[in-house]
Structure formats: structure tokens, C-alpha cells
């Protein structure tokens, strides 16, 4: 079976062509410019993953940008948004500070400074 997809590994956005076995294993990846493309095709076909970037409200009402520090399963993005949504961030906050722990195995960290 064949599958086509766009690699999201970098802004090049290579068009990947993937040959899958009947059991879903990836047999061959074509169209990738670098190794990361092949790896992306592999996970995308077996266990798709995404990083979430969003914002949380600070105790003074301002917003602070955050992200999951690793990828999480793609199908859990909305669940993850629910898990972290109500968090109120204590000030000051520095880039890299862990604000929510263990969201599908990932930590939510600040990507912006707020004093």
C-alpha cells in the first residue's frame, strides 16, 4: 500500500511517498531530503506525534506562551488542551520553567518570560 504525506520536520515540507506492508509496517520512504523525513514517515504511519503550543493565563491576567517539551500523541491534542487549560501561572515565570507536569508523558514549559 502507498501513502503520501508532507513532512513537517522543517519548512522545506518535503512530499513523502511511503510504501507500507499489509500489517502497516513502513517498507520504503521516498522524497525526503534528510534522515528526519524517514523517521517522521515511520512515526506518522505508526504512532503520529505533535508538539502543542498554546498560552496559559498568569495570576495577573496576562498570557504566557507555553509548549509541550516533547511531542504527545496526535489524537490526544484536545485532551491535552483540556488538561492544561485551567492552569493559572504564578509569577515570575522564565522560559523553560515547568508549569504543568506529565501531560501524556510531556511537561508543559514556558516559552516566554513574564515578571
Amino acid at each position: 500500500m502507498k501513502r503520501e504525506m508532507t513532512c513537517i520536520g522543517c519548512p522545506m515540507g518535503c512530499a513523502l511517498e511511503i510504501e507500507l506492508a499489509a500489517d502497516g509496517r513502513v517498507l520504503e520512504v521516498k522524497g525526503n531530503t534528510c534522515k528526519r523525513g524517514a523517521k517522521y514517515a515511520e512515526t506518522e504511519c505508526t504512532d503520529p506525534q505533535r508538539t502543542i503550543t498554546t498560552t496559559l493565563r498568569c495570576e495577573d491576567g496576562r498570557m504566557v506562551a507555553v509548549k509541550t517539551d516533547t511531542t504527545i500523541p496526535k489524537d490526544e491534542m484536545f485532551e491535552a488542551m483540556k488538561m492544561i487549560g485551567g492552569t493559572v501561572v504564578k509569577l515570575p515565570v522564565m522560559i523553560g520553567d515547568v508549569l504543568v507536569k506529565d501531560v501524556f508523558g510531556s511537561n508543559v514549559v514556558a516559552t516566554q518570560n513574564r515578571s
Binding site: K67, T111, Q112
Partner: protein, 410 residues
């Protein structure tokens, strides 16, 4: 008198400042109108920045912070909440902020790094009313990411530029239903990866060759009528369909913010809407340089930083009196290639030339002509308006040229 004044403390301004510092200039001042350094990156909370310059994927604020840390470490002075009102050809800057009122600075050199703004919605040709609920994608981004306020629940987006795509995902994750992204052209101006991770991931339809022909609603948007367009981009009557929504986002392109440059008498390129510059990013007013999105709209901030470093270095050389310039070689384009930056070359050195094409082309060659002679040729499997291209012209190729013509050919 200040050696170097940089207008704008975004990615371009900070990179220009640090580059000039590294060349030995110490008397630098950055003027930033916002309350933070970082410019538009502060509201671009998604990731994908920095792969070229830092080898890792950063969010906008993280990318800005890398440069801000450098600015702070080097002790380069900056004034925040400071609005520049005027720049003259003699490099006198008039600015204002709350503490100092209105003040003037005489600079030896200036780097323009004011960035760009979104095209106004008034310029759009849509029938119907102008109810509340119509936002530019960037304004919506500011509301959601900086103020934590969602502009609406059911959204149609006109234009498939990257900010529109990014906002489709952002508002979906925050609970909105994005019903469609309409793109007038038969191709998207956004990055392929954003179409995948912002639309396909969430089953948001991308309707190419479609536009919004009417907005409905008195006080608030209640829906839009969309239609397919023909080759001449005219709506096809029979394809009209109504989509109910409370919000229409416009992502119809960016335009360099050059009001100040005009005041300084700087000539602009009518295609880029930015200054005409040479390889050093020096404008036609001596000692005034331009870089980043104020010069031409970039797709990647990494390239903004690289270009700004050129401008910063060149400004340093100008101040130190070490820059030598010769007769200008004009760079011309064939229309398929819409523009080049720089527009002229005034020094005998290797030059990186950036350009954009006017349409989607496959299996073409980029040819550079000196008279009838092709001095450079490169094959491209695909070229699209959404992706800035670049080539390096080696200095020996420039020898004896007065004009170089850039053409896209089979």
C-alpha cells in the same frame, strides 16, 4: 550624536545591532515601539523558528529571547515604548516616549528594521455589510495569544498565507470550529508543512480557487457566501454557497511598513514595497540601511536575522569609513521572477541574491544574463510564490557587468 540607531527591536533590529557590535561599534541605540523586544515574534507562539540559525525548533518568543539575551549581554542600549515619528535624509531621528517626551537624535548611520504589517481589509473587494467579526489573521493572533480572548466560535478564513493557517489550528485547539479556508489562487501561499499540520490534521477544508463574495450580518457576522473563481479570478455564479459563521479572518498578505523610509526620501521598489538596496542593504540614502520584513516580506525569520546581520555589518563599515563601493550593476527581472533583493550590486564580492517567482513553475531554470550571455544557470524542480529563492553570484561573474537580467526559463 549616536553612531548607529536601529529603528525596530524585532528579530531584524536585534540581529543588526549585535552584528554591528561584533564589528566594533559600541555606540548603538535600538528604538522599539512595543513594551518588549522581539517584535511580532512575541505573538507567534507556534514553533518552527530557528532551524537554520540554531539547529533546533523554537517558538517565536524563544527565538526572540536568544537575540534579546545577546543584546543584554553585550549591553546594547534600547528604548522600549518609543515611537519614531520622523527620519530625515541627514539622519536626524525624531522619536517620542512617555519619560522623555519628544526628542531628537543625530545618527551617523541608521538601520531600518520596522517589519511589516498586514494588508488592510478595506482593500478587499467583498460585497455586503461590514459587521463586527471581521479580523485580519494577525489581529486575531494578537487577541488569542496576547490577550487570551477568542474572537469567535465559527470561523471562515480568506487567504491561505501562513498566519491564516496557523490561526486555523490555534482557534481549533481553543475550541472554535474553522469551517473552511478559501484561497483565491489555485495554490496556497503558505508552507506545505502548515497545510499539513494546521489544516489536514484537523480536517479543515482548503478550498483553492475560491473566494468570499459576500459577508452577511448586520451587527455581527452571521455568515459568508463563497464561490469558486474562474481563470480570471472572477466568481462563478453557479458555485456560490452560503456558510454560516460568526467570524471571518483575512490572511491576504503582508506589506513592508515604510512610512518612515518615505519621509527620509528613500526610494522604494514598487514590487517589494521596500527600499531599493545594494548588496550591503544600503538604501539610496547614504548611511541608511534596511533589512528584514521592512525590506521585503520573508517566509522564515532565520533569513530575516541573516539579512539583518549583513545590514549591521555594513552599517559598521560605513561608520568606520571602510566600505568601498564601485559603479552599480542593476539587477533586472523578467516578470516570472518578480523582484530581486538586492536590486543592485556596487561591490566586487560574492553576492547572495534573493527573489520570488510570480506563479507556480515546474522544471524550470533560473538563468542570469549578462547581455546575451548566460553567466549563471540553476535547475529548479519547483518554484512557488510562497517560497523565497536565493542564489549566490560569485564575484568573478560580476566583472565588467552593467546590468544582469534574471529570467525563469524552460
Amino acid at each position: 550624536m549616536t553612531d548607529l540607531v536601529i529603528i525596530g527591536g524585532g528579530p531584524a533590529g536585534m540581529s543588526a545591532a549585535t552584528a554591528a557590535y561584533e564589528c566594533g561599534i559600541r555606540d548603538i541605540l535600538i528604538l522599539e515601539r512595543d513594551e518588549n523586544l522581539g517584535g511580532i515574534l512575541q505573538q507567534c507562539i507556534h514553533n518552527g523558528f530557528g532551524l537554520h540559525n540554531f539547529g533546533e525548533e523554537l517558538t517565536g518568543p524563544e527565538y526572540a529571547w536568544k537575540y534579546e539575551q545577546k543584546v543584554r549581554e553585550l549591553g546594547i542600549p534600547f528604548k522600549l515604548n518609543t515611537m519614531v515619528l520622523d527620519i530625515t535624509e541627514d539622519k536626524i531621528i525624531t522619536a517620542t516616549n512617555e519619560e522623555e517626551g519628544i526628542f531628537q537624535i543625530q545618527a551617523k548611520a541608521i538601520v531600518l528594521a520596522m517589519g511589516c504589517r498586514e494588508r488592510a481589509k478595506g482593500a478587499l473587494n467583498i460585497a455586503g455589510t461590514r459587521p463586527a467579526g471581521i479580523y485580519s489573521a494577525g489581529t486575531a493572533q494578537k487577541y488569542v495569544n496576547m490577550k487570551g480572548y477568542m474572537p469567535g466560535k465559527e470561523v471562515v478564513i480568506l487567504g491561505s498565507g501562513d498566519i491564516g493557517l496557523i490561526m486555523a489550528r490555534r482557534m481549533t485547539l481553543e475550541g472554535a470550529k474553522v469551517k473552511a479556508v478559501c484561497e483565491l489562487m489555485p495554490y496556497s501561499g503558505g508552507l506545505a508543512r502548515n497545510i499539513q499540520q494546521c489544516l489536514v490534521d484537523f480536517d479543515i477544508p482548503l478550498l483553492l480557487s475560491h473566494t468570499v463574495v459576500e459577508v452577511h450580518g448586520k451587527e455581527r457576522v452571521t455568515g459568508v457566501t463563497i464561490a469558486k473563481v474562474d481563470e480570471n479570478r472572477r466568481p462563478i455564479e453557479e458555485t456560490k454557497q452560503y456558510i454560516s459563521c460568526d467570524t471571518l479572518l483575512l490572511s491576504v498578505g503582508l506589506i513592508p511598513e515604510n512610512e518612515l523610509s518615505k519621509r527620509a526620501g528613500i526610494s522604494l521598489d514598487h514590487i517589494t514595497n521596500g527600499a531599493v538596496v545594494d548588496q550591503d542593504r544600503e538604501t539610496e540614502v547614504e548611511g541608511i540601511f534596511a533589512c528584514g520584513n521592512v525590506l521585503h516580506v520573508h517566509d522564515l525569520v532565520d533569513f530575516v536575522s541573516q539579512e539583518a546581520a549583513i545590514a549591521g555589518k555594513s552599517a559598521a563599515a560605513y561608520i568606520q569609513g571602510t566600505c568601498k563601493k564601485g559603479a552599480a550593476i542593476t539587477l533586472k527581472t523578467d516578470g516570472k521572477i518578480r523582484y530581486t533583493v538586492p536590486q543592485k550590486i556596487t561591490a566586487n564580492k560574492d553576492v547572495n541574491v534573493y527573489f520570488r517567482v510570480a506563479d507556480v513553475f515546474r522544471d524550470v531554470r533560473i538563468n542570469v544574463y549578462k547581455g546575451e550571455e548566460i553567466i549563471f544557470s540553476k535547475k529548479k524542480a519547483k518554484a512557488a510564490p510562497g517560497e523565497m529563492e536565493s542564489i549566490v553570484l560569485k564575484k568573478d561573474l560580476l566583472e565588467g557587468a552593467e546590468e544582469l537580467r534574471f529570467a525563469l526559463e524552460d
